[in-house]
Symmetry: C2
Subunit: 361 residues, 2 copies
């Protein structure tokens, strides 16, 4: 008999069969003093899941259960756990470990710790067990990456905030989005819809930028103060050098991606921050696009525990609501859902629900 | 007879004859209420001069006198001038006009004003006169771009600070270089030697980065606390994620330029700021190089009047000394000097001197 506890989850076997899911048992890492066992209630579907299972982000440890926007109940907490109580409703995002001891970790930059591990597909150094994601019965996670969810936020709406939401929230607050600032969100998709809602909730003048006007009505409902379509002639002209911050969710920096036009929007030393995660594109930066305003180009990776808790507080206080389509968990539905997401056929986020019908109450 | 005042200067006629200089008369712009006429004493030789006369930066208004690191005496000041006194020793840098009325100008960002004009090669909107640089008898400049030079700084050492110096100083102070910060200067040339000296004068832990060890001794004399040669195997490994700021003077982003290695040096949200001005290179940024530390890439353009005055104060107080080779002004010497600079055959800056032998005392 295996020395490991067993959980159940829907696994993918290879990039060639990336849209085929199989319900199986898998090994859980040994239960540590700071660990929390969570019975999963629902899980958001993230583009990262697709980049991982289809091989776009390189080699992975198959078979693999993806899913890293997890909400559930704390079933059991380790003897040293202080941040989470048994029975509490909690979330787990895309990161599940860092050293908590280095300069990064001690400065709320644990997402930049060199020893960080992902919620799925990472090898736990002590046991060799490969971490498995949230299309599963349970997840076992160090308390630092287990976040209590305020009662005001329904689980299925909280779930996608644990990766997409925090990825948009962190660069907004780290770059001063708030009253008196003008912020643009480029790309109104899963990430971008959070960008618009959070920028507005934080008090910034918020503009949505999309290729066409097809999502204009939605963006205004999300709270945008203005909308720009890059297919309009000279769309950027009236807004040159007026934005403090541009958050880009673009997933491809190849043909049709006009970095110069976005950078021209920025005020002196304004920032263009990418939170999209292109598979292979390289960003082509012309030095002459940086000089007219001394702008800065950067990227952002998830967000800290501190930011996650602040984000949920803001969401509860301001009544921010994820735009979510729920899908009952099953192998067939996961297959259909990742294929729809791959085609961007969603407004704006999927959450897999009805876990009790698969794994029991 | 021409309606314009005449000055004399050494002009180049075309990119094809970029290293041939001809002493000629040229039109000065009409004398304005805020203008200062400066009798030039010396002028630094800047790479910008070469990029301009050899066509690397595109079409120019030939014939043209370049040179924008000018030191001289204020001969005559306009009726509304308050910042400069007649007889005062002053400098003029690369910029000679902005609107002084827009948000940028009012926030010490006049180098990012949309209406800025260069010291040479720009067309004055009112008169159509093309601005001419400092290999000349005189220059006529709005007082905002005329900077009193502290007595402690010899003219030939002050001159190259007016473009190269300020280009290094501004991004250092704007990005917090000072006590407790670790700063790298990439490329120990004309710009880089100021980067090292200023970063040290500002109190930062200062590292020089060069291709080989050939300039190590010089860099240490300039005040570097440490030196890294990129030709050494794994040169960046011990320094990963430890720098707050990297100032790059690289003049080419093509083959042999390893942006990833430089970005890996940066601490979380650290900045890589380019002050080199490549002629045609495009910076290739891999998104995966931005994610591990959430670093930022940017550029910087000259510096404000406020920074120029601060810089000269620091230079005078700390006794910062430009490393300068002086060359007596003549058509032949200008030709030889721009060719030597084009081959980087200088440690670390040229100043053309002995103007009185050409233009009289």
């Amino acid at each position: 008999m295996s020395k490991f506890d067993k959980f159940q989850g829907f696994q993918v076997d290879s990039p060639e069969t990336w849209n085929q899911f199989h319900l199986r048992e898998f090994d859980a890492k040994p239960f540590g003093d700071y660990d929390v066992d969570i019975k999963i209630e629902c899980c958001g579907v993230c583009s990262s899941d697709i980049h991982t299972i289809n091989g776009g982000w390189g080699d992975q440890h198959f078979p693999l259960t993806v899913g890293h926007e997890i909400v559930g109940r704390a079933l059991r907490v380790g003897p040293k756990v202080t941040l989470v109580k048994e029975g509490q409703r909690v979330g787990v995002g895309a990161q599940s470990y860092s050293c908590l001891d280095c300069r990064q970790c001690k400065n709320d930059n644990e997402t930049y710790c060199a020893k960080q591990l992902d919620t799925y597909g990472a090898v736990w150094p002590d046991s060799g067990v490969v971490s498995q994601g949230g299309y599963s019965s349970q997840v076992r996670t160090h308390e630092h990456w287990v976040f209590p969810i305020p009662d005001a936020i329904p689980s299925y709406l909280a779930a996608p905030m644990l990766c997409a939401g925090i990825s948009a929230y962190s660069p907004l607050v780290r770059n001063g989005a708030g009253p008196g600032k003008k912020v643009a969100i480029v790309g109104i998709g899963g990430l971008g819809h959070y960008g618009v809602m959070y920028a507005k909730a934080l008090g910034a003048e918020t503009w949505a930028i999309s290729r066409t006007h097809s999502k204009e009505e939605d963006a205004m409902k999300m709270g945008a103060d203005g909308f720009l379509a890059t297919s309009d002639k000279d769309w950027n002209e009236p807004h040159k050098m007026t934005f403090d911050l541009v958050i880009s969710t673009a997933n491809n920096f190849g043909q049709g991606f006009d970095l110069s036009a976005y950078l021209s929007l920025l005020d002196v030393h304004g920032k263009w921050i990418s939170i999209g995660f292109p598979e292979e594109s390289t960003l082509q930066v012309k030095p002459q696009d940086l000089n007219p305003n001394g702008c800065l180009i950067g990227a952002s990776h998830l967000g800290s525990r501190k930011e996650m808790l602040e984000m949920f507080k803001l969401v509860a206080e301001k009544g921010v609501k994820s735009w979510v389509e729920t899908v009952p968990l099953s192998a067939d539905n996961l297959s259909k859902t990742v294929q729809r997401l791959h085609k961007n056929d969603v407004r704006y986020r999927f959450t897999m629900v009805d876990y009790d019908k698969v794994f029991g109450a």
